[in-house]
């Protein structure tokens, strides 16, 4: 009964997500206030549905959502949308939605296309996963990855706007991109979002290390998942230093934000699908 409700919620979430992505795109093209408001309301709805789906899963399985890729992807989507909504309200930046919302949408589509129902059902957790540190591990990962997705959207907007400003003469200044906030604001906002997420990513790696020390007796074993999370960490560390270095502010920093998120995705998908290792759960 509850399981069926959870499946229904998943499909409602997918539909809401797709709709709000479309509304953000239409809003970007038309600037109709009604469409924009609808997009925001739908995002709020998606966050609520996503939260409900995760809570239901936790009730039926009796453990935090971390036993398989499906559960973590749901958490990841919630993280992205929650951080995005915060950014939209705090900085009045609705155009960002057009670049961030496709990410949870694609993640949910990925679930449909590549995970069969048997991969989605709640699974028993192996003894190694029965640890409180894991709850922190997943919560920090959720917000850190969510924020990195938002900084990715900001990086893309920056690059689009910067390349348009380079070709100022050829393009009409009325274009969609011209309505983005100024480069300076985009850059600073991305910096703030990464600055919010970086300590969380660090905490995520540390809680992972504490747990690994309890479970396997090593806080760090250069497992591919660990190594790639370190690489992600280094890329964002580079990003945070970039603006202190002459000539690295702006465009190169925006590229780093884009690469950083690519590393986040690789840490999640690439490592699970291409590289073997201890961390085979999610």
């Amino acid at each position: 009964m509850l399981e069926n409700l959870e499946t229904a919620l998943f499909y409602i979430l997918l539909m809401t997500c797709t709709l709000c992505m479309l509304f953000y795109w239409i809003w970007l093209g038309t600037k109709k206030e009604l469409v924009g408001r609808l997009a925001t309301y739908l995002t709020i709805l998606a966050v609520l549905v996503n939260t409900a789906a995760i809570i239901l899963r936790m009730i039926t399985s009796g453990h935090p959502p971390l036993s398989n890729g499906y559960e973590f992807l749901l958490t990841f989507c919630l993280g992205i949308m929650a951080v995005y909504l915060f950014a939209e309200f705090r900085y009045k930046l609705r155009s960002l939605g057009a670049f961030v919302m496709p990410i949870p949408c694609l993640l949910l589509m990925f679930i449909i296309m590549s995970m069969g129902p048997e991969e989605r059902i709640a699974q028993a957790v192996p003894p190694a996963l029965k640890s409180q540190w894991l709850t922190f591990h997943v919560i920090t990962a959720m917000f850190a990855y969510g924020a990195f997705a938002v900084s990715f959207g900001l990086g893309i907007m920056y690059l689009l706007k910067a390349s348009q400003e380079d070709n100022q003469n050829k393009l009409s200044p009325q274009g969609i991109v011209a309505r983005f906030p100024s480069l300076e604001i985009l850059d600073e906002l991305a910096y703030k979002v990464v600055g919010f997420a970086f300590p969380l990513l660090t905490l995520c790696i540390i809680t992972g290390a504490i747990w690994a020390n309890y479970a396997w007796g090593t806080y760090w074993s250069w497992d591919p998942k660990e190594t790639w999370s370190l690489i992600t960490w280094i890329i964002y560390a580079g990003y945070l230093h970039a603006r202190l270095m002459y000539g690295w502010k702006g465009r190169r920093a925006a590229w780093l934000a884009v690469f950083g998120f690519a590393a986040v995705l690789f840490t999640f998908f690439g490592v699970n699908y291409f590289l073997p290792g201890l961390h085979s759960y999610a």
Partner: protein, 437 residues
């Protein structure tokens, strides 16, 4: 000569104080670490690692994270971080504790500036009150001819960056301590056996301790709903044959004795038999699903065993197979229940005595772990200070032309974030004007 060496050390200092060098090192470390995830590593995948070309093996690509040159990279990064931090200490100290109010208008930050007009005395009072309310520490100028101030909030945030950078050095020291003074090993033993700590299989370091470990019991506990609860091992530490400690451990619940930690790593079922060869009784303990077999002396008969899915606590049973020589197919197989005796190819009689648990324990001594956790605390604390506790520094100067009308010029140091520091300044000014009204 002295001049030369001084020049050299100066030059080295300059090289290592460069942030670009640090970032380049970080980039190289990231790249090398990434390559290590693509090439099979000897400690995770020994067979595949052996298949990698000899040249790459010699260069260390199959044990990348333990190579001298990878450690050299980490060492260089440490030196770089230390030099950079020392270089910055003075500046940070001054920016935190020795702020000087501006003496002239040009010393007020230009980029983020606002002006407030009003009578000098109430303006000063309002400003100081608002600053105090908002949690700023104010330093007033001691010059007689100008009234100026500098105020700082979240001043400890200045130290976040240095703490973060030095925490990395602490982490490396912790890792070094572990690899020099510690050891790591593994053993798999069935319940009832005792193993001296000196005889476990080591993958790193050497053991100086001399106690023994007795496995009292090993259990794979399944919950009523069919889910696995955990693996449990009841073990005793024996010093000169005397039990000095006893504990039941399980996955995620390790046990520590004299700085050596035992971790439940794996579990396997097995069985105890007696082989009777013409009246000579040989005890046999076999473990399931591994290359554990019994070759009866003087024969080429190999006995292997596996768990029977229909085995019950009341009537334990196992499945067995007998192979002859290098034959790929078993020549005899079947099921054996507890207490039952069978004849194996006319060579010997086999009796199942009962089931037995095998426990796989990871054994580790790492005196660096405490230092690692200290490094983690510093790292996290530093980052929280740097990003969640950013200092705001506001300074201003009051100029009055005829003593009645004054112009207070306020400026805020923008640092890395211009837009939000400007917001902070606007809030301050609006609070002051509210007070003045």
């Amino acid at each position: 000569m002295v001049e030369n060496s001084k020049g050299l050390s100066d030059q080295l200092w300059r090289v290592f104080s460069s942030m670009k060098l640090g970032l380049a090192l970080l980039g190289i470390i990231a790249l090398v670490a990434g390559i290590g995830t693509l090439i099979p590593q000897a400690d995770m995948n020994p067979e595949k690692a052996k298949a990698v070309g000899q040249l790459w093996q010699t260069l260390g690509f199959t044990h990348l994270y333990n190579t001298i040159w990878f450690r050299l990279l980490l060492g260089l990064l440490c030196i770089n971080l230390i030099v950079c931090s020392i270089q910055r200490l003075r500046g940070i100290y001054h920016r935190t504790f020795k702020l000087t109010p501006p003496a002239k208008l040009v010393q007020v930050p230009h980029k983020n500036r606002l002006e407030v007009l009003g009578e000098p005395a109430p303006l000063q009072a309002a400003l100081l009150e608002v600053l105090k309310q908002k949690g700023y520490r104010v330093t007033l100028s001691d010059l007689s001819d100008t009234w100026s101030f500098i105020a700082i909030k979240h001043r400890l945030g200045n130290w976040g960056s240095v703490i973060t950078h030095l925490s990395f050095v602490v982490l490396v020291i912790g890792a070094l301590l572990g690899s020099v003074l510690g050891f790591k090993g593994y053993f798999m033993e069935n319940a009832g056996n005792t193993i001296p700590i000196q005889e476990i299989q080591l993958s790193k370091g050497t053991v100086s301790e001399t106690f023994s470990v007795r496995i009292n019991s090993a259990e794979d506990r399944i919950l009523p709903d069919g889910e696995r609860d955990n693996w449990y091992t009841d073990l005793s530490i024996l010093e000169n044959g005397q039990e000095v400690a006893r504990k039941t451990l399980s996955v995620n619940h390790p046990f520590m004795y004299k700085g050596i930690t035992f971790y439940q790593a794996s579990y396997s079922d097995g069985a105890r038999f007696t082989a009777d060869m013409n009246g000579k009784k040989i005890p046999v303990v076999l473990q399931d699903q591994v290359q554990s077999y019994f070759q009866a002396p003087g024969t080429d008969l190999y006995l292997v065993t596996m768990a029977d899915p229909n085995s019950s606590a009341q009537k334990p049973s196992v499945l067995y197979q007998v192979y002859k020589g290098n034959g790929a197919d078993p020549i005899q197989s079947g099921k054996l229940t507890s207490g039952q005796t069978i004849d194996v190819q006319g060579s010997y009689k086999l009796t199942l005595e009962g089931l037995v648990g095998f426990t796989g324990l990871q054994v580790k001594k790492d005196p660096g772990v405490a230092v690692i956790w200290l490094g983690c605390v510093l790292l996290l604390g530093g980052l929280l200070l740097a990003f969640y506790w950013q200092p705001v520094v506001i300074s201003g100067i009051l100029q009055s032309e005829n003593g009645n009308q004054g112009t207070l010029t306020l400026g805020v140091f923008s640092g890395k974030v211009t837009v939000s520091t400007h917001e902070a300044l606007e809030h301050l000014v609006s609070s002051i004007t509210k007070k003045l009204r």
